[in-house]
């Protein structure tokens, strides 16, 4: 792989940029791999990358039914933070956030990580108490966050109206080292690095069945034929129940649509990320100048990557009180992704009833920020067959044992 650098750009400029090599190969599948990962979203690709980097396992295929990064990884609003309440969440999200800080260098691919700071607004008394509690928990977890008053919120984000009649801004939880990154670049950067290690990323190839014998997976049946494997990792977000069904087990997951929209591009108006959980809206400005807006999920099961229109209206209506300038913007695009929601709104990184099959799912509305940490933890699980310290609380049998990682109350609309 030719490395990207300022020097390489200068050199390519001499030859009209015709000499760049492809970022990743598009091979035909081999008959057999040590590890097959289903799903080339951020989590699947990161799993493969850390399998190679941390454990030297490189005979790996990542199988994707569409194009890599075309699932939720390419559809999210790219908020990165690690200010969760529960210890297992703080540990894995903070691991991910800290890996994001140096990921561009690590992958030699500019993922445009922008630690611009994230404010989670408190607009009710209950939220004040909740976020102050989270700030204390974060202090114990070693995650730097801070409770700030309304005046500081206004300083950080001047376009905000903090005296709204219905939901005045009463303060916020501020994580200065949170921010955003370019979602496609995260997928592309991992893909390029995986391909460089000799791994096969097989796109336009849908897994249709899982072949197992006596509790052990032997192969997956795909639209490009049968591919054998020693170990299988299922990392397909909204389609996790479908894959689990093929493998013969059931997951505590429901798939629902989550939507986002962007406005026309405008001059720089805000340089932080703001989340307003009471009104189910969140907002940041992309490098292109668009205001990026996300909302809440639909309440019913859905596999269409299309959400309900009235949710868009509700989200924008709610945000306009706090951000009056939004009312004068035209919205350019709106889209949806199918997110995988668990009962306690926390992820699953787990062994399954099949001995050599592992599952990573349930990131729901908030897994972009987790990609590097989740891949790190999943790679360890796949390589060793047992979860390491980051993953051990995220087993799927926690629902039987009643040991939830309950972020549903803590995080409101987690993202």
């Amino acid at each position: 792989m030719k490395r990207y650098s300022a020097f390489a750009i200068a050199k390519q400029a001499m030859s009209h940029h015709l000499g760049w090599e492809r970022a990743w190969r598009s091979p035909e599948p081999k008959k057999k791999y040590d590890v097959v990962i289903v799903g080339a979203g951020g989590h699947g690709l990161a799993t493969a990358y850390y399998l190679g980097k941390n454990f030297g396992i490189k005979n790996v295929a990542i199988i994707e039914k569409g194009w890599l990064g075309g699932g939720n990884t390419g559809r999210n609003t790219t908020i990165i933070r690690s200010n969760y309440l529960q210890d297992p969440s703080a540990a894995i999200y903070e691991k991910a956030r800290s890996l994001y800080e140096t990921l561009s260098q690590d992958l030699n691919y500019n993922i445009m990580f922008s630690p611009r700071g994230v404010i989670m607004l408190a607009q009710t008394q209950a939220e004040i108490r909740g976020y102050q509690r989270t700030a204390h928990a974060n202090a114990l977890q070693g995650v730097p966050t801070e409770w700030i008053g309304p005046r500081r919120v206004k300083e950080l984000c001047p376009i905000m109206n903090i005296d709204g009649p219905r939901y005045p801004v009463l303060g916020g939880l501020w994580q200065a080292r949170g921010g955003t990154a370019r979602h496609d670049a995260v997928a592309w950067g991992y893909a390029r690095a995986c391909s460089d290690m000799g791994m096969d990323i097989i796109q336009q190839c849908e897994v249709k069945g899982v072949r197992s014998e006596g509790g052990t997976v032997r192969a997956v049946e795909t639209t490009k034929g049968v591919i054998e494997c020693d170990k299988l990792g299922i990392v397909v977000a909204g389609h996790s129940s479908v894959l689990a069904d093929m493998a013969g087990f059931k997951l505590p997951i429901e798939s629902v649509a989550l939507q986002a929209l962007v406005s026309e591009p405008i001059k720089p108006a805000m340089d932080v990320v703001v989340m307003a959980n009471t009104v189910h809206g969140y907002l940041s400005q992309s490098d292109k100048g668009e205001m990026v807006i996300g909302g809440g999920t639909d309440g019913y099961n859905n596999y269409t990557q299309r959400g309900s229109f009235h949710h868009v209206e509700e989200t924008v209506r709610a945000l306009v009180e706090t951000f009056p300038m939004l009312s004068r913007l035209k919205m350019l695009r709106q889209w949806g992704g199918i997110v995988d929601m668990t009962g306690d709104r926390s992820a699953i990184i787990s062994k399954t009833p099949l001995g050599n099959c592992f599952v990573n799912c349930g990131w729901g509305t908030g897994g972009f920020k987790a990609i590097p940490g989740s891949g790190w933890a999943m790679a360890e699980l796949v390589a060793k067959g047992e979860p390491g310290p980051l993953a051990e609380a995220f087993t799927m049998d926690r629902f039987r044992r009643g040991q939830f990682i309950d972020e549903s109350v803590a995080a409101g609309v987690a993202h």
């Binding site: 389609h239 129940s241 479908v242 059931k250 997951l251 505590p252 997951i253 429901e254 798939s255 639909d298 309440g299 019913y300 099961n301 859905n302 596999y303 269409t304 299309r306 309900s308 229109f309 009235h310 668990t342 009962g343 629902f399 039987r400 044992r401």
Partner: protein, 109 residues
């Protein structure tokens, strides 16, 4: 917008008039059941890519709970029926098989 006909008042209601109530026909387990049964009742879900049975409430209308059979891939509604039943009535099953010949009713656990 998704529209669903309330089987009680007959109104073809917009989804914004309804509250979704999750998967239907769950078998309830309580005290005395095994941990595995209780877990499946609380958290295990079919979450099918295709025909799905679910509970809805006509929240901003007559207020009644009812059942709907719906496709999660096309968002097509096959029919709605009363809440007081453990499985879909025959006419709903027929309406589904007319459009999805491969579909078979499996009692949910």
């Amino acid at each position: 917008m998704l529209t669903v006909t309330c089987p009680y008042c007959g109104i073809n209601a917009d989804e914004s008039e309804l509250s979704p109530g999750g998967e239907a026909h769950l078998k309830r387990f309580g005290p005395g059941s095994t941990d595995a049964d209780f877990e499946q009742y609380l958290f295990g879900r079919q979450n099918p890519r295709g025909v799905h049975f679910e509970r809805w409430r006509h929240a901003y209308g007559c207020g009644k709970w009812f059942h709907a059979a719906r496709c999660t891939v096309t968002l097509e509604v096959f029919g709605t029926y009363a809440a007081q039943t453990y499985e879909p009535p025959q006419d709903i099953k027929d309406a589904i098989t007319a459009k999805r010949p491969d579909w078979v009713w499996e009692a949910l656990s």
